[in-house]
């Protein structure tokens, strides 16, 4: 037998997603359908559903003591893979052999009960994660020391600050001593000092205790620092499996090569269900490659179809970085609506959004009202319209240099004038009279 601690062979996971009739899973509809037309009932049930492969023929091996990063864009299948590894869901086909106890930090603090005290929660959470009572008792002091909450041990955790909550939760999970530790994006929370502590603990677990760690993160520096090997998932398939540096490169490459300009979304499963009076049909960029310059308007074309008469509609969108962090959201004004069955293309643009160079994707909504009033979304699509912002080359061939650490938006250029001591002014452009007075 080889020393592989995890071996996955042709692993696939299929989800069946319902369409149109989003309330079909309510009993009433099932019975209603069955009664109305018993003959067509079974046929229809199948027709309304569509298959979606979250994972398709995944195979890999991980050896004892390895620290492997699993990276990929949102929806690449990372979470599904982890859920199968931690036995929360079953694969549709294929198999995995695991040679040891698996503990997953899928979400730190799962199973904490707000009414219970810190002490009680340590025991409860330990038991949920698979520790025995004796084991928890043995490590109790260590857990408390790591979490730094000695003083509040007998306070219900609902009165904890979120930082304390996270610390306690991570402390319990980190002392689990499994052969295989699965860590999913837990480092996104907590302050810098705590993040460092968690990273340190994970390094200790893997290096000194020879345990296997699977680390899933969008935080590339952390992946580079912690892991020796990376598996890149893309659309449910293994795109790359090898040294971390190359994996991170490959991951960035996927975003770059993914220069789709037409997106049919009619059959795309929605993560957020709207009221569906109006639904998106497709999106397209009216250019060959989805590349924009920071000084340019960001624009695309959306085609919608009305399934009911709607008096007015408006669009709104949120732009995300490839790491999934929102950059900003904007709403458009309401305009006269659509007739039932009407299909219309809209050209949508954000006037000079000034995105910093980098890769982005969008979530777009059609609905009515906005954040100032009551807001209803008819339909929302996410993770779409991936685009790149590339600085234009200057006449002399120079390229603007924007550091990612400065953030994803190039704010308007600063304005300043020498201030006159006697007049207090707050530097706002809204006081032009005053400015003209002081300008020399």
């Amino acid at each position: 037998m080889s020393n592989a601690i995890i071996r996955a062979e042709n692993l696939s996971k299929r989800f069946v997603i319902g369409h149109q009739r989003n309330k079909a899973d309510a009993l009433r509809h099932v019975i209603e359908d069955a009664l109305r037309n018993p003959f067509a009932f079974w046929k229809n049930r199948k027709a309304e559903k569509e298959e979606f492969w979250a994972l398709k023929d995944i195979s890999f091996e991980i050896k004892t003591g390895e620290v492997v990063g699993i990276i990929g864009r949102n929806g690449a299948g990372k979470s599904t893979l982890l859920k199968i590894l931690s036995r929360i869901t079953e694969p549709t086909s294929g198999k995995i052999s695991l040679n040891g106890r698996v503990a997953s930090l899928l979400e730190v603090g799962t199973g904490f009960h707000p009414e219970l005290t810190g002490r009680e929660n340590i025991f409860l959470n330990g038991a949920i994660l698979g520790m025995s009572k004796v084991e928890i008792k043995r490590k109790f002091d260590e857990i408390v020391a790591f979490s730094e909450i000695e003083k509040f041990l007998d306070t219900p955790v609902k009165r904890y600050s979120s930082g304390m909550y996270m610390r306690l939760a991570f402390a319990v999970a980190a002392h689990l001593e499994p052969e295989i530790l699965i860590v999913d994006e837990v480092l996104a929370v907590g302050d810098a000092a705590f993040q460092k502590k968690c990273l340190g603990k994970m390094q200790e677990v893997s290096k000194n205790q020879g345990r296997t760690v699977l680390f899933v993160s969008h935080n590339m520096p952390a992946v580079l620092q912690l892991t020796t090997r990376g598996i890149v998932l893309d659309k449910g398939r293994v795109r790359f499996n090898g040294p971390t540096e190359e994996a991170v490169e490959c991951h960035a490459g996927i975003a770059r090569t993914d220069s789709q300009v037409f997106f049919s979304v009619e059959k795309l499963p929605r993560k957020h269900r709207g009221t569906e009076q109006v639904r998106f049909v497709s999106f397209r960029f009216d250019r060959a490659t989805p590349v924009f310059s920071p000084e340019e308007n960001f624009h695309f074309v959306a085609k919608v179809r009305a399934h009911e008469d709607v008096p007015q509609i408006r669009f709104s969108m949120t732009v995300f970085t490839t790491e999934g962090a929102p950059v900003g959201t904007c709403f458009g004004a309401e305009r006269p609506g659509l007739r039932c069955g009407e299909e219309v293309e809209f050209e949508i643009s954000i006037p000079t959004p000034r995105f910093a160079p980098g890769h982005y994707c969008c979530g777009v909504s059609v609905g009515k009202g906005d954040y100032r009033t009551a807001q209803v979304d008819f339909d929302t699509v996410l993770d779409l319209l991936a685009f790149e912002v590339r600085p234009e080359e200057g006449d002399d061939g120079t390229v603007a240099n924007w550091s990612r650490g400065w953030g994803p938006v190039i704010l308007p250029d600063l304005e300043y004038r020498p201030a006159v001591q006697a007049i207090r002014f707050n530097g706002s452009r809204k006081q032009p009279e005053m400015l003209s007075e002081i300008s020399v």
Binding site: L85, I88, G94, T110, G111, L116, A127, G130, S132, P156
Partner: protein, 272 residues
């Protein structure tokens, strides 16, 4: 070295019962948690598990007195409470375990353990209430200066029966609730009307011979009768065919419940 675990489509059955044993401590912890939080931030705390059946008994006793319903030759409070005891256990255990999976959705979708642990531990919590109420019944018997008949030794048998029927019904509802939240509304309805469908205020011997067997399809009928026969005796005779039928329905409920729960369990995390 830990043994190799193989995850494959449709092959979890083999590990399942072993895992159930491995997670027995979780079972205990979940029951302990539910019991702890049940009366957190209440003034009288655990006394609530005495106050609730006590007040219900008072009301029902008054109903019996006003309606001049026959109590089978025993004090009316005892007659009512003997039926209340299994009925309340059945109704709380069924609704609590029925809701348990959905209430623990965050656990189900994030962590692996045999899901059977969740509804089972909530039945246990209701069982603790049952035991407390049983102590109250003993006190009530002393107060009424009532000596139980010799067949009281059969009580554990009926406790087992009511336990099984509650767990069986709970399993069905818990598994169905994952997909059809409609049961959230159906269950309180069943509990509310079940009180009248079960012989809490009446004696089954008043039901005509013709309908009696049909009536006993309701498994709580045979159980409540059994409780009365064991604890009160006297005119509360046991009707064996009815009891046999109740036992049969109970067995059917628990085995089909286990079967359905196991069948749907693998998709809980995707559906919940």
């Amino acid at each position: 070295m830990a043994q190799t675990l193989i995850i494959e489509a449709g092959r979890t059955e083999r590990q399942y019962w072993r895992d159930l044993w491995k997670f027995r401590e979780l079972f205990y912890f979940l029951a302990w948690r539910d019991f702890l939080i049940r009366y957190k931030q209440t003034v009288v705390g655990i006394a609530w598990s005495l106050i609730r059946p006590f007040l219900t008994m008072l009301v029902l006793t008054m109903v019996m007195k006003v309606g001049k319903l026959p109590a089978g030759g025993v004090p009316a409070p005892l007659f009512v409470f003997c039926a209340m005891l299994p009925w309340q256990f059945f109704s709380t255990a069924m609704s609590e375990s029925g809701n348990s999976l959905v209430n623990n959705a965050n656990l189900v979708s994030k962590i692996y353990f045999p899901r059977l642990v969740i509804p089972a531990s909530s039945v246990i919590v209701s069982f603790v209430d049952f035991l407390i109420a049983a102590i109250f019944l003993i006190a009530l018997m002393f107060y009424c200066r009532f000596a139980p008949p010799p067949q009281i030794v059969f009580v554990p048998l009926f406790v087992l029966l009511v336990f099984a029927v509650s767990f069986g019904a709970g399993l069905w509802i818990a598994a169905l609730m994952v997909e059809y939240r409609d049961f959230r509304f159906i269950v309180p309805f069943v509990v509310q009307f079940g009180l009248y469908a079960a012989p809490v205020l009446t004696m089954t011997s008043h039901v005509s011979e013709k309908w009696r067997l049909l009536y006993s399809l309701n498994p709580t009928v045979g159980i409540i009768d059994g409780f009365r026969w064991c604890i009160l005796g006297g005119e509360n005779l046991i009707y064996w065919p009815a009891l046999a039928l109740s036992a049969l329905v109970t067995a059917l409920l628990i085995f089909s419940g286990l079967w359905y729960f196991r069948k749907t369990e693998r998709t809980f995390a995707d559906m919940i």
